[in-house]
């Protein structure tokens, strides 16, 4: 009897804590590989870098928990960044560079993100097209639009605006950069919405079984659309801190971000088939992914040709670890 009663406890532990343990192991490994890893500046770099994918992945947690998927986020980020840059460049001529222009640029991003997410959501729900297909389509559309807007080159932010905007990526409070702060705020908001609101529970219910949710008087279409809108908003927020980093957008901006975001969500313990989502797991998953790249750059031991293979292997192992022990016992 005792083993049977103990087993579920272990399972719950691993599911929730698995990603955290994997991250801890990776941190130890990184420190062994190169003590420079523990430099505060390196830690801040890694976390700041995680913020883009992290914020997008928090949005993706909602979409995936609701049983859908959004492949368009990387292209959407590039498109939004491009339009925001064009808007700010246009405004600077009349008004001169100032905080107001940056605020306008962010407002444009947020508006565009909400609209783009809404379009994805409505096509999936009202249009009754698979989310995979809709977002595969919009992925191509957003990517060509940014290439078109940039005339095949790079859209660069006006230098004067850059000077004003730059601190939003490079600055911070008490040594913690603004992207990290935004990442934390978005994660906290995401956790509250997913775990503590009716909307959050509906997301998981729809992902678990859409028909049952429908019969339970959940307005499936509205909730699903809203999940895509949250995703779009998250992409816009990520763009708001991406633009000040390099002050440019091009056809290669955000390439494969959709896959990184999905990988982060899955490493964090959310099921790809939907049904439940884990915001803090997603946060840890994102940091884990960024950390792998960082560690590989901190050591010269592994051939650079194998970077992709190492990252792939760690993604698979991380997911194996967190579900292996849980399901094997019960069969």
């Amino acid at each position: 009897m005792p083993p049977a009663s103990r087993r579920p406890a272990i399972r719950v532990d691993l599911k929730v804590w698995g990603p955290f343990l994997a991250l801890a192991a990776l941190i130890v490994l990184a420190t062994l590989v190169n003590p420079a890893f523990l430099n505060p500046s390196n830690i801040v770099n890694v976390l700041t870098r995680s913020a883009f994918i992290g914020i997008i992945a928090i949005g993706a947690t909602f979409v995936i928990a609701a049983g859908a998927i959004d492949l368009s986020v990387g292209s959407m980020a590039a498109f939004i960044a491009g339009v925001a840059i064009i808007a700010m460049n246009a405004l600077v001529g009349g008004a001169g560079a100032g905080a107001l222009i940056v605020a306008a640029g962010i407002a444009v991003s947020v508006g565009l993100g909400i609209v783009a997410g809404g379009v994805n959501g409505v096509l999936v729900t009202k249009g009754r097209i698979e989310a995979f297909i809709v977002t595969l389509g919009t992925m191509g559309i957003f990517r060509s639009l940014v290439t078109y807007l940039a005339n095949g080159g790079t859209l660069s932010l006006d230098p004067a605006v850059r000077t004003v905007y730059r601190p939003l990526y490079y600055g911070g409070i008490f040594g913690i950069s603004y992207p990290i702060i935004l990442f934390a705020l978005v994660a906290a908001a995401g956790a509250v919405i997913l775990y503590r609101t009716r909307f959050g529970r509906y997301c998981s219910a729809i992902g678990s079984n859409e028909q049952v949710a429908r019969y339970s008087a959940v307005s499936v279409n509205a909730v699903k659309t809203m999940a895509f809108v949250i995703q779009g908003l998250c992409v816009a927020l990520a763009v708001a801190i991406y633009v000040p980093r390099l002050g440019s957008a091009s056809a290669t901006t955000g390439l494969l971000w959709e896959l990184e975001a999905i990988a982060a969500v899955i490493i964090g313990g959310t099921r790809l088939k939907g049904g439940y989502g884990r915001i803090w797991g997603t946060v840890v998953g994102t940091v884990t992914l960024t950390l792998i790249g960082n560690i590989l750059n901190l050591t010269g031991a592994i051939s650079v040709y194998l970077n992709g293979a190492i990252q792939g292997a760690i993604i698979i192992i991380a997911v194996l670890l967190q579900r292996g022990n849980g399901t094997r016992g019960t069969g």
């Binding site: 770099n45 005339n151 080159g153 790079t154 660069s156 091009s250 290669t252 901190l298």
Partner: protein
């Protein structure tokens, strides 16, 4: 029998009509990679410019410009150029060398004059003209500059490479050869995929890993832009310098303005597509003599000569 032979006669007659018609108009197909990266963006821009210019210059020349996002779709483009547009001559910048060798051979076998640009084909005997940048030279010039700047300082440098390809290896090998025997130490090299974001990330990690770096060879201007941001963030812009490559207008501008962080740049001009189109058009429509091969030299851009490499209207 009667029916068959009359059909053949009609077909022959039609062929004769099209043949005489085609002799008046020369159709040139230009197939290039889509503008998914700064340099290919430049290629698209200069190809478009050359199309407009050459069509004005040669009234009997018609240019069809197509771009493809990958090798497979470029092969499709080639089929369309031959079957739909019935081109007489082709200028191609192959996405990848080996996958496009046979598709281009096919085009050649249908009687088309072929000019290959930059990335060669697996079988060079297919091409009538070859126009390319000089990758080994680009690496060598960068290496020689490093050597000159850092001579006698036992300097430490890092290298941000492109994507694992033949071009990248040629540049890298020539660079390493150029600094061989000097006291320059290459601390590490890493792929940054000809991309700003990756340049930023890889450079951040290098700066964390190595407290002392005297110079960076970034091999591509997109990468060097990202790397320079990381260097500025770490506050080490006064302790090192970056050597990039390609000739992006933002970088050329900085060299022109005497930016200490990026004192020089090495060209790998996207204008080579325009050169190739011009040479081919000159041969086909203007009856000019051509060589078999044109290698466009890489040049060191310094504050003194930067002006002549600055194209403010180009997207690259």
């Amino acid at each position: 029998m009667w029916f068959k032979s009359s059909l053949a006669a009609i077909a022959l007659g039609l062929a004769a009509v099209t043949a005489t018609h085609a002799a008046e108009e020369i159709k040139m197909g230009v197939s290039i990679p889509a503008a998914t990266h700064g340099w290919t963006g430049g290629i698209n821009f200069h190809a478009q410019q050359a199309k407009e210019r050459l069509e004005k210059q040669y009234p009997n020349l018609k240019i069809v410009l197509v771009s493809a996002p990958d090798a497979a779709r470029q092969a499709n483009d080639l089929e369309d150029l031959v079957s739909i547009h019935q081109i007489k001559t082709l200028v191609i910048l192959p996405f990848e060398s080996d996958p496009l060798t046979d598709p281009v051979r096919q085009v050649k076998q249908s009687g088309v004059f072929v000019t290959v640009v930059d990335r060669g084909l697996g079988d060079p005997s297919i091409q009538d003209i070859y126009v390319a940048g000089n990758n080994p030279q680009m690496g060598r010039i960068s290496g020689e500059y490093m050597r000159k700047r850092l001579e006698g300082k036992s300097a430490k440098i890092v290298v941000l490479r492109g994507i694992p390809t033949v071009i990248d290896n040629q540049r890298f090998d020539a660079f390493m050869k150029a600094i061989k025997g000097s006291d320059i130490e290459v601390l590490a090299s890493q792929y940054a995929n000809w991309n700003r974001d990756d340049g930023f990330k890889v450079m951040q990690d290098f700066l964390a890993r190595f407290p002392e770096i005297d110079a960076v060879w970034a091999q591509d201007d997109d990468i060097s832009l990202g790397a320079m941001e990381a260097i500025r963030q770490a506050g080490r812009q006064d302790k090192l310098f970056v050597v990039g490559g390609a000739g992006m207008k933002d970088i050329v501008k900085r060299v022109m303005d005497g930016d200490k962080l990026i004192p020089v740049d090495v060209t790998y001009p996207p204008t080579m597509i325009a050169d190739a189109m011009e040479i081919t058009a000159g041969k086909m429509a203007g009856g000019k003599e051509t060589k078999k091969e044109y290698i466009i030299d890489s040049v060191l851009i310094t504050p003194e000569n930067a002006k002549q490499f600055y194209y403010p209207d180009s997207p690259f």
